[in-house]
Amino acid sequence: MSTTPTQTYLARTFDDERYAWARHPRVRRRAVVAEAALLVALITATLVAGSTDEGWSTWFFVAWTVGMLGFIPLHSLLNLGIRGVLDRDKRSLDEHQRRLGERSHSAMSWPAAALTFAAVAGAVAVVALTEHVPLALCLGFLLWFTSGLLTYWHLAWTSPEEPADLDA
């Protein structure tokens, strides 16, 4: 059996040294904070929209679209910072990278389960209180989405600083 990690296209992209700046702990943590702030803003916007009689409105649609599009560059940056360890084929990871991924999955399993429960409970509560079904679905989606991001945030926040000077 081969022990050398397979160099998939995705692995080559994430290991590209042009993105070494994104792997610095300060950059990784800022990406986590930015994603969390964006999610809090979207959840707040959803709750504010839900508190109005109109419910789903143009400003909310614009805020939702801009927020969701904002996730694309932010999550790309975060994924570059963690070398895509959670998204790459297992065969392209070595034992240390697999261990880091498993540690974050394990650490975030209960909080993720709690957020998934909160997603269902939150959506039901919004429908019960406001009768705005689309907004209830938005809130549920955002909380469920957050539960999926927890593992990425944990890994990006806790990964040790990478050793420099690999050719030394």
Binding site: T4, D15, D94, E95, H96, Q97, P160, P163, L166
Partner: protein, 88 residues
């Protein structure tokens, strides 16, 4: 699979950096030879990762040394003091 040491007592000490310097091998070359990413060699040298048995054996085979000459649960003495101790 290896693991991150949870305490100093849990740490696996190694001589990888010294051996690399002695043989003129870069982290990247060693990593390619033993089938890991070069960063993992750096984590091993910094004591932030304890290798799996398979990886430790591959590193020992690369340097053509017994595994206990490279890895230890106790801090390893310097190679020069080892040499002095063994010289009659």
């Amino acid at each position: 699979m290896g693991r991150q040491p949870k305490s100093e007592a849990d740490r696996v000490h190694d001589r990888i950096a010294v051996l690399r310097a002695d043989r003129g091998v870069s982290r990247r070359e060693l990593a390619d030879a033993v089938g890991v990413h070069p960063q993992t060699i750096g984590y091993l040298e910094r004591g932030e990762y304890a290798p799996s048995l398979a990886l430790a054996l591959r590193i020992a085979r690369f340097f053509d040394l017994p595994i206990e000459a490279i890895f230890s649960l106790d801090p390893l003495p310097s190679l020069s003091s080892e040499l002095l101790r063994r010289t009659p």
